[in-house]
Assembly symmetry: C2
Homo-oligomer: 121 residues x 2
């Protein structure tokens, strides 16, 4: 069983966190056949935390969890904090395969998406 965990920064604004949750629902609908479950987690300021998000996925039966950072730049959060949070749960569940995908900002298709957004108006 494969799970996808979308990791966002988290915000004091409930609307921003809800935006991530809605995105996760859309992803879930699109991930049919690729991931058996799609959840989100937050680095700070919102729930669940990254370790809790991973634990939830594992308890729901995931044997492999892919973590994808919903971040635009490779700052400290992406380079240091998210891997450290993942390591906590790797130690708890050494038989579960937890893999960290490249962050959103590194996606080659991002420029095309920005061009599309620019032409929405």
């Amino acid at each position: 069983m494969k799970a996808l965990l979308v990791v966002a920064h988290g915000s004091r604004r409930a609307e921003s966190n809800d935006e991530v949750r809605r995105l996760t629902e859309c992803l879930s609908a699109q991930a049919n056949g690729i991931y058996d479950q799609v959840q989100c987690a937050f680095l700070e300021l919102a729930e669940p935390s990254i370790p809790d998000g991973l634990r939830n996925a594992i308890r729901a039966g995931a044997e492999q969890v892919t973590v994808v950072p919903y971040f635009l730049s490779a700052g400290r959060h992406v380079v240091t904090d998210i891997p450290a949070e993942i390591d906590v749960v790797r130690k708890e569940f050494p038989n579960i395969d937890i893999v960290l995908a490249p962050y959103l900002g590194a996606a080659a298709g991002l420029t095309e998406l920005l061009l599309q957004q620019a032409q929405q108006i």
Copy 2:
């Protein structure tokens, strides 16, 4: 003459700002025929500011400037701060058409891009 201005938050980390500048160069290469110039600007912590980015584009001959926010959520920056910065320059150049495109996080294709990133590993 049409210009595209990619507006990012700006960071204390020079690497993050340079990441935006590199993205802008990639966009510029792809925007051939759609935009005559593609530049970036920053809300804070990096140069040029949004008003300066707009002024640079206009001085370089732009008659229409599309501003696309390189932001993932519709927080205060997207809803209030960026429009306010644009308004400063609209008043200076009333004959120039400055339009604000939807922010990146609102792009329908974002979920697909996240799925692609997740499958990079």
